[in-house]
């Protein structure tokens, strides 16, 4: 194990995969500037700065992926994906299907989002559900430095377009990362804490809030199991359903706005497939249906709190 931040884990994952596979390239606004070490090792052709144009950055990745390269692009902050939606959904997501399987799109799109920087809704918008609802793409959003590394490495080896969401609030927190070629499968959830009375399902920053809530619940005599989805499309129904069948209760937690968020899918699936096992309604604890403010106290209040999770678990 080595200790590093999620941000360092991302860079390590990228460097290792570029070392392993010459087809892996990286580009985006400032990618070469910030990744000057990568430029030194892999050269200016494989690590590039781009013009300030998300549409062509993404489109170029899609076209390159279909013709032999494995691009990793950095679109910086999730609201900037709005300039690349055609390329990410109509092209990367659909052209394999529409071509009858003639092409594959092995590419990774990195974006950041979530509370922590205090710069407002045009930099912080947890829109991962848009992509979870989009055919042909995969979506991951890890919560630990180890998963940032292992899932990015796996995503780069995946033959499909993967949206990699990085929670800003986690990027600079240090964590333990296994040595060597650490890979984490896409589509497999992690049980972060075992429990018997209630299942807390979450991903990204709020997984840690759930773990705190689990401690609080422990003191109140409630044993909470905490599941970290980390992969949102595909997501690990099996692990979640097995847990809920055991505990009979579920609380789904995320920072993204509540309405039609990923939590709706998880809650609806639990309510449908574990119906018989449920002792109480599945409750969602999520951000409000509002843009995120820059003002720090408001930004912080947007995110589900330990208290809200505890109350939901006891409801």
């Amino acid at each position: 194990m080595t200790t590093m931040t999620a941000d360092q884990a991302i860079n390590e994952a990228l460097a290792e995969e570029m070392r392993r596979d010459p087809r892996v390239i990286a580009f985006g606004e400032g990618v070469a500037t910030k990744g000057y070490k990568l430029v030194e090792e892999f050269g200016p052709k494989r690590v590039r700065n781009t013009p300030l144009a998300e549409g062509i950055i993404a489109g170029t990745a899609v076209g390159a992926a279909a013709t032999g390269l494995r691009p990793v692009i950095d679109l910086l902050f999730s609201p900037f994906t709005t300039f690349a939606m055609d390329e990410l959904t109509n092209s990367a997501g659909k052209l394999r299907y529409l071509s009858g399987g003639q092409f594959a799109f092995p590419m990774v799109t990195l974006v950041r989002t979530g509370a922590g920087w205090g710069v407002g809704a045009q930099h912080n918008h947890n829109n991962e559900a848009w992509f979870v609802h989009t055919p042909g793409v995969k979506v991951v959003m890890p919560s630990t430095a180890a998963d940032f590394k292992g899932m990015l490495k796996r995503a780069i080896r995946d033959d499909n377009p993967v949206m990699f969401f990085a929670d800003i609030g986690l990027l600079y927190a240090p964590g333990e990362v296994p040595e060597g070629d650490h890979l984490v499968p896409i589509g497999k959830a992690a049980v972060r804490r075992e429990g018997t009375d209630v299942t807390l399902v979450s991903y990204a920053k709020t997984v840690h809030t759930c773990l705190e809530a689990a401690n609080a619940l422990q003191e109140q005599g409630v044993s909470a199991e905490v599941i970290d989805l980390r992969s949102l499309k595909p997501w690990d129904e099996e692990t979640v359903l097995a847990s809920v069948r055991k505990t009979g209760r579920a609380v789904v937690v995320h920072e993204a706005s509540r309405t039609a968020g990923v939590g709706a899918e998880v809650a609806a699936t639990i309510a449908e497939k574990a119906f018989g096992a449920l002792k109480a309604p599945v409750i969602r604890v999520a951000g409000p249906d509002a843009p995120t403010a820059a003002s720090f106290p408001l930004e912080a209040a947007f995110v589900p709190s330990v208290q809200r999770i505890v109350e939901a678990a006891r409801a």
């Binding site: 489109g59 052209l95 071509s99 009858g100 399987g101 003639q102 092995p106 042909g136 033959d159």
Partner: protein, 322 residues
């Protein structure tokens, strides 16, 4: 080589048959649509010289990206009319198993990669194909066909700029057919030529008479050679006209009759036949033979497509992920 010399070039007589094939294929598709046997499609009637002139200037390793108005490009590249028509009809024997239908047909084996019916989509992808080529040991180039309307999408500018800044081997071919669905080009831009936009990107460009297959072929050969050797982008604009309307069926009630008539008088196929005959480069009999050959191919293609099955329901969810 000047257009005049081109006239006696046998390449041009071959181009004539290609154009005839495209014309016949598209008119046949349109009548199948009219009789309810096929879904809707966009035809390139009146623009055949652009496809025929540009595509025959390409090498076999060059990669092509196209859009919703692609039948001409595909046929000029050697696509089988039967499989093409089958795709348009949504049949399992189509190039994309019937999943594409008429609007996004790609044929990897012919180097026709990534066709998008999102106007501008093909442009957003072309730079990536160019990037792959620029990073591998090849002198192949990427060619992207797009319309004058696509040039009003911001992504056209992003693509031109990136291709210029990264020295990507991409030949941009704008088929300026004066229309953008139901809107005339003049309503959407003040410049007459899309090639005007190239200068600020420091990209070499040229506009050519898109109804003169010889002129298109000359210009395309120059452009292809430039991109292949310089490993830099080039913008070639084929100035032409869409004489059958946007998408089948289209009564063109909104089209200026005089403008349409003027362009129909410049029909690329009739023009070429006339010129070839004048220069004794072909005989009436030879033209008749060509027509007959083309007619037979289209009949066979139609029979094949009509006789082909639709994809099975299992295809509903295949080819989503690799």
């Amino acid at each position: 080589m000047t257009t005049f010399e081109m006239v006696v070039d046998r390449e041009v007589t071959e181009a004539l048959e290609t154009m005839m094939l495209i014309r016949r294929f598209e008119e046949n598709s349109a009548s199948l649509q009219a009789s309810g046997k096929a879904g809707s499609m966009c035809t390139s009637v009146g623009q055949e010289a652009s496809a025929a002139g540009v595509i025959r200037a390409l090498g076999k390793d060059d990669l092509i990206l196209t859009n919703h108005r692609s039948a001409g490009h595909l046929l000029a590249r050697g696509a089988d009319p039967g499989r093409l028509l089958a795709e348009i009809m949504g049949k399992a024997t189509g190039y994309c198993k019937g999943k594409s239908g008429s609007l996004h047909i790609s044929v990897k084996e012919l180097g026709v990669v990534l066709t998008s019916t999102i106007v501008g989509g093909e442009l957003s992808l072309a730079t990536g194909v160019g990037l792959s080529l620029s990073m591998s040991e090849t002198d192949a180039i990427a060619v992207v066909f797009f319309g004058d309307g696509a040039a009003t999408e911001g992504i056209f500018h992003e693509a031109m700029n990136l291709a210029a800044v990264w020295d990507l081997p991409v030949l941009f071919v704008c088929e300026n057919n004066q229309w953008q669905a139901y809107v005339h080009r003049k309503e959407t831009m003040l410049a007459d030529h899309v090639s005007d936009f190239a200068k600020a990107y420091r990209v070499a460009a040229r506009t050519v008479d898109g109804n003169d297959v010889g002129a298109v072929h000359d210009a395309a050969k120059f452009a292809v050679d430039y991109v292949r050797k310089q490993r830099k982008p080039y913008l070639l604009e084929t100035y032409t006209y869409r004489t059958r309307g946007h998408m089948e069926p289209d009564d063109q009630a909104y089209v200026d009759k005089a403008e349409l008539a003027a362009w129909k008088a410049k029909d690329p196929i009739q023009q070429l036949e006339k010129r070839l005959l004048e220069h004794d480069a072909i005989t009436v009999a030879e033209i008749e033979e060509m027509r007959a050959r083309v007619a037979t191919r289209i009949e066979e293609a139609t029979a094949f497509a009509l006789g082909s099955p639709y994809p099975g329901f299992d295809e509903l969810t295949t080819d989503v992920y690799a």
